[in-house]
C-alpha cells in the first residue's frame, strides 16, 4: 500500500513538473540575447541557375534581388504599425489591425474559399501570443521579444508591411534560391542538421528549458556561432548570408496560385522536426491564418 502511495506521489510530482508554462504565458523569466545580426540588413541574391525542390530540378532565376537577412522582428513590425496607422495604410477595428486587399480571382474550385475585396485581418491585437504592446496610443515590442521574429501576422499583414516600404514578399522560387545557393543542399548551411544549427522541435535551445520541447521563438540571427546562456550555436547562414532560413518561424511567401486560396510558407519552425526544415518543405494556410510560429521577411528588386 505504502509503495503504491509513493509511486502515485512520485508520478504526480513528475506530472506537475512535466507541464511547463506555454509560450506567451510566463514571460518574466525570458532570457534576452543580443545576437549582433542586424535585422535591417539586406543580402544580395544573384540571378543564375540553381537546383529547385527535393528532386533538384535545374531552374534559372532571371533577376538579382535583395532579401532581408533575418525575418521581420517584433520591433520592426511595431514601428511599422505606428507609421502605417498614422498614414491610413491600415486600420484598427475592434482589437484588430486590418487593411484593404483587392481580392483574388475566385474560380469556385473544389475546396477553394473566396478571397473577396475588402478589409482583412493583419494582426489580432487581443491574441495572447502577440509580442507587441499598445501603450499610450502607440505600439512597441515587448522588450524581451524586440529582436524575435514577428508572429501572429497574417499573409495580408506581412504583404502590407513589405509593400508599405516599397518591397514585397518573396516568391517560393526566390526564397529557395536564397536558402540554397548553387548546390543541392537540403539545409541552408549544408547537408546535416543539429541543435546548434536552428530552432526546431526538441533542439535544446535555452527557450526549451522554459517552455518545453516546442520552445519559443529565438532572437533573429541566433544561430550565428555565438554562445547564449551556455548554449553553443554554429554559424548557420545560407550561402548568401541569410539567417533563420530554417526553423524558428515559417515564412509567408508572396505567390498567389490559381484554383486555391492557400498561401504558402517555407523554412519550418520551432514546432517542427528536422525534416520540415529542409529548404523544399512547404506549409500552407488561408491568407487570414496567424500563428505563434509563422512570420515573414521581405525582398526588394534591385531595379528600384
Amino acid at each position: 500500500m505504502k509503495r503504491g502511495v509513493m509511486i502515485l506521489v512520485l508520478f504526480a510530482a513528475w506530472s506537475l513538473t512535466a507541464c511547463g508554462p506555454s509560450a506567451g504565458q510566463t514571460e518574466s523569466a525570458i532570457p534576452v540575447f543580443e545576437t549582433g545580426v542586424d535585422p535591417e540588413a539586406w543580402a544580395l541574391v544573384p540571378a543564375g541557375e540553381f537546383y529547385e525542390g527535393q528532386f533538384a530540378h535545374e531552374v534559372t532565376m532571371d533577376h538579382d534581388y535583395e532579401m532581408m537577412v533575418t525575418p521581420v522582428t517584433n520591433a520592426q513590425y511595431a514601428a511599422y504599425l505606428n507609421d502605417a496607422l498614422h498614414e491610413g495604410w491600415v486600420k484598427r477595428i475592434q482589437g484588430q489591425v486590418v487593411g484593404y486587399y483587392p481580392g483574388d480571382v475566385f474560380r469556385a474550385y473544389r475546396h477553394e474559399f473566396p478571397i473577396e475585396a475588402g478589409d482583412w485581418l493583419h494582426v489580432p491585437l487581443d491574441e495572447p501570443g502577440l509580442r507587441i504592446l499598445e501603450q499610450g496610443g502607440s505600439f512597441e515590442a515587448k522588450p524581451e521579444y524586440a529582436n524575435h521574429p514577428m508572429v501572429h501576422v497574417t499573409w495580408f499583414g506581412a504583404k502590407a508591411f513589405c509593400e508599405f516600404y516599397g518591397w514585397r514578399l518573396p516568391t517560393e522560387l526566390e526564397w529557395e534560391r536564397a536558402a540554397r545557393g548553387d548546390d543541392d543542399r537540403p539545409y541552408p548551411w549544408g547537408k546535416d542538421i543539429g541543435p546548434g544549427n536552428a530552432n526546431y522541435y526538441h533542439s535544446d535551445d535555452p527557450f526549451e528549458s522554459i517552455y518545453g520541447k516546442q520552445g519559443d521563438t529565438t532572437p533573429v540571427g541566433f544561430y550565428n556561432g555565438g554562445t547564449y546562456g551556455g548554449f553553443e550555436t554554429q554559424d548557420s547562414p545560407s550561402p548568401y548570408g541569410l539567417y533563420d532560413m530554417a526553423g524558428n518561424v515559417w515564412q509567408w511567401m508572396g505567390n498567389v496560385y490559381e484554383y486555391q486560396h492557400y498561401r504558402y510558407m517555407r523554412g519550418g519552425s520551432r514546432m517542427e522536426y528536422e525534416p520540415y526544415l529542409r529548404v523544399w518543405a512547404r506549409n500552407n494556410a488561408g491568407p487570414d491564418f496567424h500563428s505563434s510560429s509563422v512570420g515573414f521577411r521581405c525582398v526588394r528588386d534591385l531595379s528600384e
Binding site: 506555454s22 475546396h111 474559399f113 537540403p186 518545453g212 525534416p275 529542409r278 500552407n284 491564418f289 505563434s292
Partner: protein
C-alpha cells in the same frame, strides 16, 4: 535438428506466421529507433553511427515508403498464411502459395531495407521489386486456389451463407478481397514503375491540398487507401473464421462484405479519374462496416452464451453477462478493437469529412497533415493488434498468461490510440501557444500504451524463441498440424475430412 526447426518455421502455417511476426518485430524494434522519443533521446544518432546508415535528407520520403512496404509485405504474408491455413484447399496449392509469398516478403523486406537505409546497391532494389512480384504472383495463385465456384468447395450447411447452388459466400468474400488486392496493387506498381521517368516519390499527406494532382499521384493515393482497407477486410474475415462466424448474421454479413469490397475498391480505383470517387468509397464502406458489426454481435453473443453455459447458467444478469463476455480477452478483444476503431478512426474520419471546410482546412496544412498521419497509423496499428490477439490464441496462450497478454494488448493499444486521437485533434480545444502540456501528455500516454503492447510482443517472441530450443517444445506439436488449430473446426467446410483425425488433404 536445425533442419527440423527450419521446416517448422517455413513449412507449417503457425511456424510461418511466427517467423513473419518475428521479422516485423525485429524491423519495428530497429527502425523504431529512428523517430519519436528514441530520436529525441539520441538513440537514433547512435544507431545511425554504429550501423553506418545513410540517411540522405532528400531521400527521406522514399525511405519511408520502402519501410512501409517492407512491413506491409510481411503483414500481407501473415494474412495469406492464415487464409491458406483456415480455408480448404489442396495441399499442393497451400505449399506453393506459402512458399512463394514467403520468398516474396523476405526478399522485399530484407533487400528493400538494405537498399533504402544502407546505400543504394541497385541489385538490392531489383530484389526488392522481385520480392513484390513474387507476392503478386502468390496472390494470383491464391485466387486460383480460392476459386469458390469449384464443386468441391460447395457447401450445404444451413448455418453458413451460401447460394442456392451451394457456393460458399464466405469463400467468395475471401476471393473478392484477394482479387481486389491484386488489382489495387497495380495502382501502386504502375506509378512505381514510372519512377525515374518523371514520377517522383511523395507522401500523400503532403499533397492533400494540391488542387491538381497528376493521375499517377492519384493512383498512389487510391492504392494506399484501398490496400489498408483490404488488409482490414481480410483480417475481419479471418477472425470470423477463427471464431466460427455463422448463423443469420453470417448470412447477412457475407453478402454485405462481398458487395462492400467491390464498391469500395471501385471507389478507390476511381480516384484516378473521377471527382465522385469519394461518394463511391463512402457507399462501399457502409456494407463492409456492417459486416464487421454482424461479426462483433455474433462474437460477443457467442462469448456470453458459452460463458454462461460454462457456469451452468442458461440466463444471466447483466453483470454475469459482462463477466462472460470479457472472460477471454483474446476472443473478446478482436471485436472490441473493431468497435474501438470507430471512435479513433471511423468517427474521426467522418467528422473530418463533414467539417473539412469549416475547421480542418482553416488550420495550417501541417495541422491537417498530423491528423491524416495519425488517422492511418492508428488504423494500421489497430489491425496489427487484432492479428496479434489472433496469433496469441494460435500460439496456445492459456490461463493467466492469456488473460494478462490479452488485456495488456487491448488496454495498451487503446490508450495509445486514444492519446493519438486527442493529439491529432488538439487544435479543436487548445491553441498552438498553449499546446505543449497536451502534446507532452498525449505523447507520454501514447508511448506508455505502445510500449506495453511491444513488451507483450517481445515476451511472446522470446517465449517462442526459447521454445525453439526445446526438443519437445510447443513447436513440435504445431509442426504436426497442417492447418491452424487441430482442436476446432476452423472453416465453414471442414479443413480436413474429420477435424479430430490426422490432417489430410481435401479429397478432390
Amino acid at each position: 535438428m536445425i533442419a527440423r526447426r527450419l521446416r517448422f518455421l517455413f513449412g507449417s502455417t503457425k511456424g510461418l506466421v511466427l517467423a513473419a511476426i518475428a521479422m516485423i518485430s525485429l524491423v519495428t524494434a530497429f527502425w523504431g529507433t529512428l523517430s519519436g522519443p528514441m530520436a529525441e533521446w539520441g538513440v537514433r544518432d547512435v544507431v545511425v553511427r554504429v550501423t553506418g546508415m545513410d540517411l540522405d535528407p532528400a531521400e527521406r520520403e522514399g525511405r519511408i515508403i520502402m519501410l512501409y512496404h517492407c512491413i506491409a509485405m510481411a503483414v500481407v504474408a501473415i494474412e495469406v498464411y492464415l487464409i491458406t491455413g483456415a480455408l480448404a484447399m489442396r495441399a499442393y496449392w497451400r505449399t506453393v502459395i506459402n512458399a512463394t509469398v514467403t520468398v516474396g516478403y523476405m526478399s522485399a523486406m530484407i533487400f528493400g531495407l538494405i537498399f533504402g537505409y544502407f546505400g543504394h546497391n541497385w541489385i538490392f532494389h531489383g530484389l526488392f521489386i522481385f520480392g513484390q512480384c513474387l507476392m503478386f504472383f502468390s496472390g494470383v495463385l491464391l485466387c486460383v486456389a480460392l476459386w469458390p465456384w469449384r464443386e468441391e468447395f460447395r457447401i450445404q450447411d444451413p448455418d453458413y451463407a451460401h447460394t442456392r447452388g451451394g457456393v460458399d459466400l464466405e469463400r467468395v468474400a475471401f476471393f473478392t478481397m484477394a482479387a481486389a488486392t491484386l488489382a489495387s496493387a497495380l495502382f501502386g506498381a504502375i506509378p512505381g514503375a514510372y519512377f525515374g521517368n518523371g514520377f517522383e516519390t511523395f507522401l500523400a499527406e503532403n499533397v492533400v491540398r494540391d488542387p491538381h494532382k497528376p493521375v499517377l499521384q492519384r493512383a498512389v493515393i487510391g492504392h494506399l487507401h484501398i490496400m489498408l482497407s483490404l488488409i482490414g477486410v481480410a483480417i475481419t474475415l479471418l477472425v470470423g473464421r477463427w471464431q466460427d462466424f455463422k448463423g443469420t448474421l453470417h448470412k447477412i454479413g457475407m453478402p454485405l462484405m462481398i458487395i462492400g469490397t467491390i464498391i469500395l475498391s471501385i471507389g478507390a480505383w476511381s480516384v484516378t479519374v473521377a471527382e465522385w470517387a469519394h461518394v463511391v468509397i463512402y457507399i462501399g464502406s457502409v456494407p463492409v462496416l456492417l459486416c464487421g458489426l454482424c461479426f462483433v454481435i455474433f462474437s460477443w453473443d457467442k462469448l456470453i452464451r458459452t460463458g454462461l453455459r460454462e457456469r451452468g447458467l442458461t440466463k444471466g444478469g447483466a453483470w454475469q453477462k459482462v463477466q462472460a463476455l470479457v472472460r477471454d480477452p483474446l476472443r473478446f478483444g478482436v471485436g472490441w478493437q473493431m468497435v474501438f476503431m470507430n471512435f479513433t478512426v471511423s468517427f474521426v474520419g467522418l467528422f473530418t469529412a463533414a467539417k473539412l471546410e469549416d475547421i480542418f482546412r482553416v488550420w495550417s496544412h501541417r495541422e491537417e497533415r498530423l491528423l491524416l498521419t495519425g488517422h492511418w497509423h492508428v488504423l494500421a496499428s489497430l489491425i496489427a493488434t487484432i492479428i496479434l490477439l489472433y496469433y496469441a490464441d494460435l500460439a496456445g496462450l492459456k490461463g493467466r498468461v492469456r488473460k494478462w497478454s490479452g488485456w495488456l494488448i487491448i488496454l495498451g493499444s487503446d490508450l495509445a490510440f486514444a492519446a493519438v486521437t486527442v493529439f491529432e485533434e488538439k487544435r479543436l480545444f487548445v491553441s498552438e501557444a498553449a499546446q505543449q502540456p497536451v502534446v507532452d501528455w498525449t505523447m507520454i500516454l501514447n508511448e506508455v500504451g505502445l510500449g506495453t503492447v511491444l513488451v507483450v510482443l517481445a515476451a511472446l517472441m522470446i517465449w517462442r524463441l526459447v521454445d525453439l530450443f526445446r526438443d519437445q517444445g510447443r513447436w513440435v506439436e504445431e509442426h504436426a498440424q497442417t492447418g491452424l488449430d487441430a482442436d476446432a473446426p476452423m472453416t465453414s467446410i471442414p479443413l480436413y475430412p474429420s477435424p479430430s483425425e490426422t490432417p489430410q488433404e481435401v479429397e478432390v
